[in-house]
């Protein structure tokens, strides 16, 4: 029906979301602060023994990244829902799953990419070492898009609910388990000087699966939530 190719609709929405985020820059910083703060709390809670921190560091950073991703995800549809733009997206002649993919990717660029930038710093704080730090960056680059893609399904299901945030974490966190396991153990393994190719291929497989299935699931969920 529409004459423009799919990539056109994708780009239009992607650019719009980036522009909106740029005009409200302050919101980008919040999940980032949360990420740093949570990670910084752990040494205070469990003691500053470098050996201990090195052992639990990958897990801590990844759990913190997971929570930061979850926290920032909540906002992905909120303003669109409140001002009615979400309805308009639903009624667009373009496939909703492509539009959803655009929204998720813009959202990841806004909230996920900054996590990557500060993560090496946190790695230094927890004394991870160069190899582990590089792997941390790599796993975050592969893993956080999966978190965004899976989480968006949950947000689509809870959009418009009054206590959506609480329920969202209950829906989404169990689904985050595989990413957490593969990614944090990749960082530990790299820290021990072993090969991490198995971990990385598993993460890539998860990313491919999430990329192919999640936008359609999000679209279906959104149609139901807004009906």
């Amino acid at each position: 029906m529409s004459t423009a190719p799919l990539s056109h609709a994708y780009l239009i929405l992607f650019k719009r979301d980036l522009l909106l985020a740029f005009r409200k820059r302050a919101e980008i910083i919040n999940p980032l602060l949360f990420f740093v703060l949570v990670t910084a709390l752990f040494p205070l809670g469990i003691g500053a023994d470098p050996a201990l921190l090195r052992a639990v560091g990958p897990g801590i950073i990844w759990v913190a990244a997971l929570l930061a991703a979850l926290l920032s995800l909540e906002t992905i549809f909120r303003s669109d829902f409140e001002d009615g733009s979400l309805e308009q997206l639903l009624l667009s002649p373009h496939p909703l799953s492509v539009l959803m993919l655009a929204k998720v990717s813009a959202h990841w660029v806004i909230t996920g990419l900054p996590l990557l930038l500060v993560a090496p710093l946190l790695g230094l704080l927890l004394d991870l070492g160069a190899d582990a730090n590089a792997t941390l960056l790599l796993t975050l680059a592969l893993g956080t898009p999966v978190l965004s893609l899976i989480g968006t399904i949950g947000v689509a299901l809870t959009v418009g609910l009054r206590r959506g945030g609480m329920i969202l974490s209950l829906l989404v966190l169990p689904l985050y388990v595989p990413v957490l396991i593969f990614a944090s153990s990749a960082v530990s393994t790299a820290g021990a000087g072993l090969s991490i190719s198995a971990h990385l291929s598993l993460l890539i497989a998860l990313l491919a699966l999430a990329l192919s299935l999640s936008p359609a699931a999000t679209a279906a969920a959104l149609r139901i939530s807004l009906s």
């Binding site: 029906m1 529409s2 423009a4 056109h8 609709a9 239009i12 929405l13 719009r16 522009l19 909106l20 005009r23 409200k24 303003s79 409140e82 001002d83 009615g84 733009s85 309805e87 308009q88 997206l89 639903l90 009624l91 667009s92 002649p93 373009h94 496939p95 539009l99 149609r223 807004l226 009906s227």
Partner: protein, 212 residues
């Protein structure tokens, strides 16, 4: 495009809508053809908005079918959405974008009408001069007119309007009525709810009262 098809019609057959246990309406049937308007009336909570959302294809009816050119709208999906434009309670405009950005976005995401640019649409709703002001700084009535400007920039045959006159002054209402009139004269269709009486050609208007 459906523009050249002989029979373009929206037909509702035995629609039923149940919300939280309350039957809002049931067995509702009507037919809307080119140059005809449907005015939905009724008290608050009588299901006007639910009916319009169902006609848009956003909500599933609890029973019954809605046909566009003889085909189920839920089966048509995107093809149906390309023929409709909806302005609901919420404006669907981004306050952090300018009116021009808002309209250009809506235009490229819809089924753009080559004969009407975003600038022309803004002019038609007397928003010329406000192209580059952040939408946040416009008055409620101007924001509403911006939402209605969306109707002009896509090739929508069917306009679905939920309380289009909210926060518009007399002058604004006159502009919108004029646009609706033109749309009908050009062979368009209109489904509208309004607390304000709608001035349309009585011969081409079907009225449904959901409270009765």
């Amino acid at each position: 495009m459906t523009l050249n098809k002989p029979v373009t019609a929206l037909e509702a057959r035995e629609l039923t809508c149940i919300r939280d246990d309350r039957t809002l309406f049931s067995g509702l049937s009507f037919r809307l053809q080119s140059s005809q308007a449907l005015v939905v009336e009724g008290r608050n909570g009588s299901g006007k908005t639910s009916l319009l959302r169902t006609l848009c294809g956003m909500a599933l009816p609890d029973a019954g079918d809605i046909l566009w050119c003889g085909e189920d709208i839920f089966r048509l999906g995107a093809d149906y959405h390309a023929c409709t434009a909806y302005v609901g309670h919420r404006d669907g405009v981004k306050l952090d974008l300018t009116p021009l950005e808002n309209l250009s976005f809506a235009r490229s995401l819809g089924n753009p009408d080559p004969d009407c640019t975003a600038h022309q649409a803004l002019e038609a709703l007397q928003l010329a001069g406000f192209e580059d002001v952040p939408t946040r700084n416009l008055s409620a009535g101007q924001q509403r007119r911006l939402a209605l400007a969306r109707l002009l920039i896509t090739r929508a045959r069917l306009w679905i309007l939920d309380e289009p006159f909210t926060s518009l002054d007399k002058h604004g209402i006159a502009i919108v009525e004029e646009l609706a009139h033109k749309h009908l004269v050009n062979g368009g269709m209109l489904a509208v709810t309004s607390h304000h009486p709608v001035n349309l050609d009585p011969g081409a208007t079907t009225r449904i009262n959901l409270s009765e």
